[in-house]
Symmetry: C2
Subunit: 249 residues, 2 copies
DNA sequence: GCGAATAATTGAGTTAAGTCAACTACTCAA
DNA sequence: TTGAGTAGTTGACTTAACTCAATTATTCGC
């Protein structure tokens, strides 16, 4: 079984102890300025938002928030990598997303009522995130309605991405789900091959695709033996995505 | 197999022949005025949008748009019911969503680049939809940035809903996915039981939940024989949702 | 209201994927 | 550098879900 420990286990260190760095430090925030949610903000408004925010360092496997916790903040990943997951009552852990540097997450909670996190978030390796108060961002939007336009585009694209994720999951067999997942990792729409890096350890990719790690391993071994992918740790080389697409379906 | 015909078959009538009703007709548009995307609009702005739109009548199984078609419009359901689905190259049809009167769909395409429909849309019964030009809506937002606030809320909630749909699909067994789906159909958070109506024919609920119709039928028969649901056509009576939740997981 | 078409159910047999277990290969921290 | 703890792989076996087929219900257009 993938990762079946409860949120209290070592896998997710129990307490969020944020290490604040001085607020005025800029390193790592360049990407923030070019993010869809923020790039239209005037410099002093973005500075205000950053001042209202806290910089957090998270250790490997450290828990950032729990599902159902009141959501007073949303987050921007400065460095490292996080994953979003849910725990059900039997302790099964289902991975829903992985978040890379330059991405925001939990930003949709700004408009939820009541605002509660829909899942757990934990660092997959040591990471740094900016913790942005929902209220500060909302105030900014209230004062500057014109900022909502750029945010709108971001939210619409988020909904499109989630729809696409859902679409993959309606594929009924594990092999084809995995193939679809790999194709989506390729840049430029799978027109040409290339090397992709799995954004999660294999056992968590398996969880994300609703299959057991053993099944994931066997499918990948099979694709490998058919010359469809070459595997090097978490890096996969796909020479002919079209052939991969053909054998699925 | 659920519905495996191609889009050209009788199941999805090939040509969209819209029957326009006079633009000034108001009946059925009350719900539009209270929709999150439109309720903050001043009356004359909404009237303008309606004037720019066309009212379409769709027959049973009639196709509204195809995946990958350029998306110049989005839609509001006045009456009837539609479903969103995708077709893959082997002709397998995977249902992704059903849309009820009072709902919008394809509205996220406003911000896609290039704007193309991500799936097929067809009427599940004879239906009436309002076909809203993306450009008209965008112009309205450009002229009135304050309207973006309400739209933002709608888009954020859409993303939350899609995330939740994705979450169900990461449940690894068919029975528990079905139970989760039923629980979500219940109003007031499954605190009390009640009757729910399947928003899709059973074979399409099965498709939506990535299982075969036979599997759906067998699971439902089993739940029925255990006294967990009573089934009457597309209406299900769930007396004790907590017990249903307990047996899942 | 009739009849054809589609949807739903049920049974029997098959297969994909899960489970359990053993083992190997990493990773990370002391 | 080492060793403990995870992650990943592989084999053997089991089971949930799929497939195919037959039958019964239901729906919808005429």
């Amino acid at each position: 079984m993938a990762v079946t420990q409860s949120a209290e286990s070592r896998y997710t260190k129990p307490v969020l102890v944020a290490i604040n760095k001085p607020l005025d430090e800029e390193d790592g925030l360049e990407a923030l300025r070019s993010h869809a949610l923020f790039r239209s903000l005037k410099a002093h408004d973005l500075d205000y938002l950053i001042q209202q925010s806290r910089r957090l360092r998270l250790g490997h496997h450290q828990l950032l928030y729990r599902q159902d916790m009141p959501a007073h903040h949303f987050f921007f990943v400065i460095s490292g990598r996080l994953r979003l997951y849910r725990l059900d009552s039997s302790g099964i852990d289902r991975t829903l997303d992985s978040i890379a540097p330059g991405d925001c997450f939990a930003e949709v909670m700004i408009y939820a009522d009541p605002p509660r996190y829909a899942c757990y978030a934990e660092a997959l390796k040591s990471s740094e995130v900016l913790m942005i108060p929902v209220k500060a961002y909302q105030d900014l939007l209230d004062r500057h309605p014109e900022y909502a336009q750029a945010a709108l585009r971001h939210y619409a694209m988020r909904a499109v991405t989630r729809f696409h994720d859902l679409e993959i999951m309606t594929v009924q067999n594990a092999r084809d789900r995995l193939i679809r997942y790999l194709i989506d990792l390729l840049p430029n729409g799978a027109l040409e091959g290339g090397e992709v890096e799995l954004p999660l350890p294999k056992c968590l990719v398996a969880s994300r695709l609703a299959m057991q790690p053993e099944t994931f391993s066997r499918i990948l071994a099979d694709l490998k033996s058919n010359g469809l992918v070459r595997v090097n740790r978490s890096k996969l080389f796909i020479s002919d995505p079209q052939r991969l697409i053909e054998i699925s379906q």
